[in-house]
Symmetry: C2
Subunit: 427 residues, 2 copies
């Protein structure tokens, strides 16, 4: 599993961190994994920089949750201010949830006119598939072969990236990730998957994909390749759910949502991670028809979803994205990074294909035998020693994942390239 | 559905609230429901008091989420302070999650030595059942007939209170709620339910119950009645999951957890709602055997679960419960309330049985034809006009639900009784 390092015995942890590690290993059980062989312990953060207890700044090139920068004062201020007002629930009539829903819906296609809030992307995807099943009367779900849509029981059953210990549902089929962006091949695979479900008597419910295919190793180009697959899913009778937990909120540098690069209008959209810059906020968006029909049938009440604090925080995040021009920044920084990475690729044989959009970039690490997961892990841990934080992803865990806060600028990009060059030189 | 009022046309909303209501009705879809015929719009809170925009204080006798009181300065302070430190995730090595897990585990039986954090009680129950299935190899789940354990797809399938629009799973069986607290009858029903599952070829996974049976209309006495049912479940091969989302963290006035009144040690325990006093924090606790085995098999990573801010908030809540003696307060206020309610029952024929433990009290409202849901709704809405906020619950929606913040004291109890007396006098 990428980014799930076992702390190595031959690296030096400070005595405080070592003691903490020992206590931690007794507590949350084996499901909780640490990043890096030498675990990182941030105590302060600002923008793209995380500081350890000794005051050493580390360049965060991986944490997309803190998308407007760590501890952004406008977001922390909104959080503290609203938490001092009553933090109740949507059974009360509050303005924040209405303001936030309206604001988010202005960024979405006009056909999408309903917003339902949850706390996590898992919950949003879980709700999306419940609505899809209710709308279609079917249960069949098609996903890509290393997709990760979350960890509720139902969502885990269509998240193959969780590994063989978590069986896929009997009404789930996977299709190969759209590596290379061949629209016809991807559409044909989706069509065949729904046909296979039908052969087993399973009626279609949803085709769901992360619109940047993060856990599949990042598949972004050419823009538009997704449209034919969405058409194929709809022809089969399924709805299309755009999982924007990774690609949404400006990440791709091409508008607010990843699906817009592909010129498709989803039936349902989910978002999470970066919506609250770390505060647990997530949402489901959809057309009023299926969302209202589901709501009238199911008596959902969500204790925390849409609470005033979460909505105030979410509004502050949207304000920062707009006022600081972060979508444009994601685009320009990405262009600079991609040029420099292409140059590095000419100097280091370990660099294979480079893919991505905006500030979500995947870099294949290859060796003589092809995909090189051990090499990618070595680079990730080498960069961590150079105080640069990145991750790894992909079906073969050999894809470097560069996914920094959206405030990542030219200075940060140059430092990342310099350190990557250095680590690759010793590779 | 209790507490899901349709705003009435013949009540007067201020122009601002009316405009907000109109905007809101277009947005989150039919799944989002308001409490009270005349929706309440709090703008400030302190202790048990919520204030509307005109500055009118309303006595909150229903919101158990804000369990240490609305906007407690120690909790809001911890939230604001930690949000200004980096709010990352458990892939980093942070002290807060370890401190919080250790602190919570000291309140649980020694056999329970693992803590896994999520954001919501739904997620905690979803995870609990995944672990139960992994540990037992079975899938069968037994719940009470109006149980509510949450709203993920999987949990909704064993939450009959969500209504006929949400079908129960094929491997789910319900048992009558333990009204009257007949231990033998409840145990026999659980035994029969697992036998019925076995007859259908379904192997047992879990018996899960809310230890105060809130949505079943509140069943608390006699303490200890639950033990025989837990034994029956274990004899059938199932694990016992104590859902403490409602009863946990001091609510019953008899220790931290509802199950301790019944002298049972659960296999798995879930908590949520009040853990963060409104901030989305929830947890799963269990024995290391099944929790670790599941963790090694399933590659769960939770973006928000156990984040430093949630843990700092949770620690502050535990500190307040202890330092302000809130469990003792729940006990003494409850005794006062119960005596006064018994007296009211002598004066008002509408009051039937009174049940509960600590600051979770259910009052049956009865008419000539028995359970009187319309009467209960009239009382709830009548009290709201008297600036006292309570709810309704139970399979027949005729049970008044008194479930205030744990700081509810004698003055608040007396005001509640006075207003209830007044509303009942016009009933």
């Amino acid at each position: 599993m990428p980014n799930a390092d076992v702390p190595s015995d031959d690296v030096t942890l400070g005595p405080e961190s070592a003691a903490l590690l020992e206590r931690r290993e007794r507590l949350p059980g084996g499901a909780s994994r640490l990043s890096y062989e030498r675990p990182f312990r941030p105590v302060r953060g600002q923008g793209c920089i995380l500081y350890d207890a000794a005051g050493n700044g580390h360049l965060d090139a991986c944490n997309s949750v803190a998308s407007v920068g760590h501890c952004h004062p406008r977001v922390v201020g909104a959080l503290a201010r609203q938490a001092g007002a009553p933090d109740t629930h949507t059974g009360d009539l509050g303005g924040e949830v209405v303001d936030y829903a309206e604001r988010l819906l202005t960024t979405l296609p006009a056909a999408i006119d309903r917003a339902v809030f949850t706390c996590t992307g898992s919950e949003a995807n879980d709700l999306a598939v419940r609505i899809a099943r209710h709308a279609t009367g079917g249960t069949g779900v098609v996903v890509t072969e290393t997709a990760c849509h979350g960890t509720t029981a139902d969502v885990a059953a269509f998240s193959p990236s969780l590994g063989p210990g978590v069986p896929l549902g009997a009404d789930v089929r996977t299709v190969p990730a759209p590596v290379g962006g061949d629209a016809d091949a991807f559409a044909a695979a989706v069509r065949a998957a729904f046909a296979d479900l039908a052969r087993n008597g399973v009626r279609p419910a949803a085709f769901i994909c992360d619109t940047i295919f993060a856990s599949d190793g990042v598949c972004a180009d050419p823009p538009g390749f997704l449209a034919a697959a969405v058409d194929a899913a709809r022809e089969a009778g399924a709805v299309f759910i755009a999982d924007e937990v990774q690609a949404g909120l400006g990440r791709t540098g091409a508008g607010m949502w990843g699906f817009s690069r592909h010129r498709v209008v989803p039936d349902l959209v989910t978002a999470g991670k970066s919506m609250g810059n770390g505060h647990p906020v997530a949402a489901l968006f959809g057309r009023h028809g299926p969302v209202d029909a589901f709501g009238q049938s199911a008596r959902d009440f969500d204790t925390f979803g849409g609470n005033p604090v979460s909505c105030a925080v979410g509004l502050a995040v949207l304000g920062v994205i707009e006022d600081e021009g972060l979508i444009e920044n994601a685009k320009t920084t990405s262009e600079r990074l991609r040029l420099d990475l292409a140059e590095l690729a000419g100097e280091h044989a370990a660099i294979g294909e480079i893919r991505g959009a905006g500030l979500f970039i995947g870099i294949d690490i290859v060796g003589e035998a092809g995909a090189d997961a051990a090499g990618a892990a070595r680079i990730v841990n080498g960069l961590r020693e150079k105080r640069v934080l990145i991750g790894a992803t992909g079906p073969k865990a050999n894809v470097l994942k560069i996914r920094p806060p959206l405030v990542f600028g030219p200075r940060e990009a140059d430092f990342l390239i310099e350190m990557l060059d250095d680590v690759l030189s010793r590779h």
